[in-house]
């Protein structure tokens, strides 16, 4: 990859760069000879090369929906609200982005009022207006962003605009003179602040073409801007020279001048290049090849870490049909499951937990697991006998991809060990969730996971909401319909995201109740690899819980 580098204008630098190139191509280079030559050794500036084994779905902010697109879009298109650039739980805190302050929310929770900062310009120099926000939301709806239902469900008039029966979103009113933006909601929705912080809510200029602009991304307001993009080959970000003047608190202006992103054909080559310092960043959205792990741990332990992200991996237990309509049968599974085994199956990329709200999200319980932190097979077998479900036939559903297949292989064997008669059904990844979410399939048990849309417990409890049970695309796989959970969700869901801390204790109590009821067998949160070359300052780099590597924190040594 690095054999085709940008050449310096200076002949001497060209020669130096050539020498560095030859050295890098000839074998492992442990020196600080940088990917751009002259920038090595400086605290800011220079070029960082990021490798992605999976290309972003879109670079257009109103279309991108995967982690690979969110990583760059987050720092190119700042929304009205955004997240603090910090590691762990602190990174889940909503802070004002292009808005001057947190939104003012009406007493009924249905009207959000924000004010746009003054003096903002897009990266092309065009002034930012309050009406650009409305246009941005309209654009996301019109060009069919994957998560547009967050807008069409909650913003008054957005659904009509989507259907084409309205020319405008009536629920959004803006005043370009004062910068005031008022958003009316169809119902109180506490996580709406998180919706405003999606990269898709990141402002683009009014008049931006209503089509996919991934090959020529529109200008935004952010520390970086796209300067080139080529589908499935790569793209380049450069520092936005206008952004520093805005002095937005909490949003860094970035350290390196250029971030060069290359799409590589396979993760083996991706990891190998970072290990040998030929590239700088292994994209955490990719799976680190387990075969290279021993080498990485021995040779690059000071620039490799597993960072848990807010996610829940669990086996769902269908509470509406045998055998898991029996509480003892569900408890037996929770007694039997060995979370340390799951960690090994995940090659260490799993942080064990028995709770549904993961670490890093408000409300995550810290109490010991209700069915023990270590497996108790004898107790599990006893419970299966008591439940009268011993010998019950079970079909365990799973996905093909690794390590999810391995999780299901283990789980099936475990169910057989405690007294069920389990067989597996492994299906293609692409059709897995639509299949198990279809009422015709009505699966008894199987693999499921949830990786946060945003750091809010209500995002996770959508999967425990009885009202979310539907005939197709059902996400409440255990079909939990518990009056106590419903009552608590009615109370907690409307609490604004900016006031989550005030109800964190109640979420904790609710999650402990859910674990006690054993509606699912949760076993942990996924960890992702933070893996850099030795050119980057590993300690200074932020691993954000939502947007993974924070590219504004990249700093060359």
């Amino acid at each position: 990859m690095m054999c085709t580098r940008t050449r310096s204008a200076s002949l001497s630098l060209l020669a130096l760069a050539l020498a560095a190139t030859i050295a890098a191509c000839g074998g492992n280079s442990n020196s600080n000879s940088g990917t751009t030559g002259g920038s090595s050794g400086s605290a800011s500036g220079g070029t960082v090369t990021v490798l992605m084994g999976t290309a972003p779905d879109f670079l257009d902010p109103q279309l991108g929906y995967t982690t690979q697109s969110a990583e760059p879009d987050w720092i190119v298109y700042t929304p009205l609200l955004t997240y603090r650039h910090a590691n762990g739980t602190a990174g889940g805190e909503l802070i004002p982005g292009l808005a001057t302050a947190q939104p003012t929310i009406s007493k009924d929770g249905k009207t959000y009022t924000l004010t746009l900062r003054k003096g903002l310009t897009f990266s092309n120099g065009k002034p930012v207006k309050a009406s650009d926000f409305k246009y941005t939301i309209q654009r996301a709806i019109k060009i069919n962003w994957g998560g547009k239902s967050f807008y069409t469900t909650y913003i008054v008039g957005a659904s009509a605009y989507d259907k084409g029966s309205a020319q405008d979103i009536s629920g959004i009113t803006t005043d370009d003179a004062s910068g005031k933006i008022t958003i009316k909601l169809t119902q109180p929705y506490g996580a709406f602040g998180n919706v405003l912080a999606f990269p898709s809510s990141g402002l683009v200029p009014t008049g931006t073409a209503m089509k996919n602009l991934s090959n020529d991304p529109p200008p935004g307001v952010g520390p970086y801007m796209y300067t080139s993009a080529s589908a499935n080959r790569g793209f380049t970000l450069k520092r936005n020279p206008r952004f520093a003047a805005f002095k937005i608190p909490g949003i860094p202006t970035g350290s390196v001048d250029t971030i060069d992103v290359k799409i590589v054909s396979n993760t083996q080559s991706e990891a190998q290049q970072v290990l040998s310092n030929q590239a700088d960043v292994f994209d955490p959205g990719d799976t680190l090849p387990p075969s290279l792990l021993p080498q990485i741990q021995s040779q690059a332990s000071d620039r490799f870490a597993r960072v848990p992200i807010p996610s829940t991996f669990y086996f769902f237990l269908n509470t509406t049909k045998a055998p898991f309509n029996n509480a003892k049968a569900r408890q037996a599974v929770n007694y039997a499951i060995d979370r340390q085994a799951m960690v090994r199956l995940a090659s260490g990329f799993l942080k064990p937990s028995c709770y549904f709200i993961p670490e890093g999200v408000a409300g995550h319980p810290t109490a010991p697991c209700p069915y023990g932190d270590t497996p108790d097979l004898a107790k599990a077998k006893q419970l299966v006998q008591q439940s009268g479900q011993a010998g019950a036939k079970l079909t365990v559903w799973g996905e093909e991809r690794s390590p999810r297949r391995e999780y299901v292989d283990y789980y099936t064997d475990l169910l057989n060990k405690i007294g069920f008669k389990a067989t597996e059904k492994i299906i293609a990844d692409a059709v897995y969730f639509p299949t198990i979410g279809n009422a015709k399939t009505d699966p008894q048990t199987g693999f499921a996971d949830w990786i946060q849309d945003f750091p809010n417990p209500s995002d996770f409890y959508l999967l425990m909401d009885g009202r979310a049970i539907q005939p197709t695309n059902n996400q409440n796989f255990s079909k939990v319909n518990d009056p106590h959970i419903q009552q608590q969700l009615d109370k907690l869901n409307p609490v604004p995201a900016t006031k989550l801390d005030s109800v964190a204790g109640e979420w904790t109590t609710l999650d402990e109740y859910t674990a006690q009821k054993a509606y699912v067998a949760a076993y942990g949160a996924e960890s992702m690899p933070k893996f850099f070359s030795n050119r980057l300052d590993f300690g200074a780099a932020i691993f954000h819980p939502t947007y993974l590597n924070d590219w504004t924190s990249f700093k060359l040594k």
């Binding site: 090849p289 387990p290 075969s291 290279l292 792990l293 021993p294 741990q297 060995d338 340390q340 085994a341 960690v343 090994r344 199956l345 995940a346 090659s347 260490g348 093909e400 690794s402 390590p403 297949r405 391995e406 299901v408 292989d409 283990y410 099936t412 064997d413 475990l414 057989n416 067989t423 597996e424 059904k425 492994i426 299906i427 293609a428 299949t435």
Partner: protein, 355 residues
């Protein structure tokens, strides 16, 4: 059954093969007078030491695989699907994790437990290898049985009746033939793995071993049925068939009593070759997730499972790969020997074509 005069006259091989070769010179070293064609074939096969050695190798693999439950119960003390992710095993007096904390499985221990190492789920590779072999061979044998049975029926009907029957059957065979075998296998395998197969009272669940067996059996039908059809087309014009017809025998009795015995050598020659092909296709389909369904082992699924760990745990792919090569090589070379024994000119024909 009417005697096939051509066969008895030539005495150098069964059926049409013998008739066609009636005019060739006899090997003076072969004392053929009064010896039946199959006995003669057996004599030739006995002299082919290489074919016998490879046949014995295949037989050995079959016997080993049949002994899988004994090995699992008395040597390895574990089943093919039993996970030992957090277990330990003592190797040379040192306790070792079966699967390390970073997910690396243990390599060969060269002792009873985990003789050939473990996989990612801590399952004993040796046990899975033998059970996988049973599954692969079972699928191979059943698929071959299905292929041969249906191919002989279809080929005989099409060749004997000709006309509309031949038109319909031959077009169906063309249709199957038109699809690349692996692609057709994947398409059928992935769709049937979900719902299984229901044919009247017969239902096979999606994870049944018989599903890939049926798929492989069906996709190979044209490869056997077409040559048989051609052979029957020629055979039905022979005098012994006319004689049978004149003597009042109906089509069914002629096909069963006259034509089928004369197809025997072709069927025998095809059998080992189809078994080898079926085992290979099963491995390919299982590798691609459209064959034997997890957690059941087969050599193909074992190779697929081990691929991602090749650099650090090569045994996961090498061991089942080696078994697959040996089994297929064994049956293939033996099959060639059988063909040479029953139809020595086929070898000459092939060499001429290759040359």
């Amino acid at each position: 059954m009417a005697i096939n005069p051509a066969t008895s006259r030539a005495g150098a091989g069964p059926g049409l093969t013998a008739r066609a070769g009636a005019g060739r010179q006899r090997d003076p070293a072969e004392p053929t007078a009064g010896v039946g064609p199959y006995r003669l074939g057996l004599r030739r096969l006995r002299r082919n030491r290489v074919a016998l050695a490879f046949g014995a190798l295949f037989l050995l693999i079959v016997v080993l695989c049949l002994c899988a439950p004994l090995y699992a119960a008395h040597v390895a003390h574990t089943g093919p699907n039993a996970n030992h992710v957090t277990d330990t095993v003592t190797v040379g007096g040192v306790r070792k994790n079966v699967v390390s904390t970073t997910g690396q499985p243990i390599g060969p221990t060269w002792q009873g437990r985990f003789l050939l190492g473990a996989d990612q789920n801590g399952r004993d590779i040796a046990v899975r290898l033998l059970y996988g072999g049973r599954n692969s061979l079972e699928v191979g044998f059943v698929a071959t049985l299905i292929t041969m049975l249906l191919a002989v029926i279809v080929g005989t009907l099409a060749g004997y009746f000709r006309g509309a029957v031949d038109g319909v059957l031959a077009r169906i065979l063309d249709l199957i033939w038109a699809y690349p075998v692996v692609l057709l296998g994947i398409a059928l395998g992935t769709s049937l793995a979900l719902g299984g197969i229901s044919l009247g009272p017969l239902h096979l669940s999606g994870n049944s071993l018989m599903v890939p067996a049926v798929i492989i059996g069906v996709v190979y039908i044209p490869y056997v049925a077409k040559p048989i059809r051609g052979q029957v087309l020629g055979m039905r014009e022979q005098e012994f068939i006319d004689a049978a017809r004149v003597s009042g025998l109906g089509p069914l009795r002629i096909m069963v009593g006259e034509i089928l015995p004369n197809l025997a050598s072709t069927i025998i020659v095809f059998l080992p070759l189809m078994i080898a092909n079926a085992i290979l296709l099963e491995a390919a389909l299982s590798y691609l997730g459209a064959g034997v369904q997890p957690p059941n082992p087969s050599w193909g699924t074992m190779i697929a499972d081990g691929i991602r760990l090749i650099p650090s745990a090569m045994h996961l792919t090498f061991v089942p790969g080696a078994m697959l090569v040996l089994a297929v090589l064994g049956i293939n070379v033996f099959g060639d020997g059988v063909r040479d024994a029953l139809d020595p000119r086929a070898k000459v024909r092939i060499e001429e074509q290759v040359g």
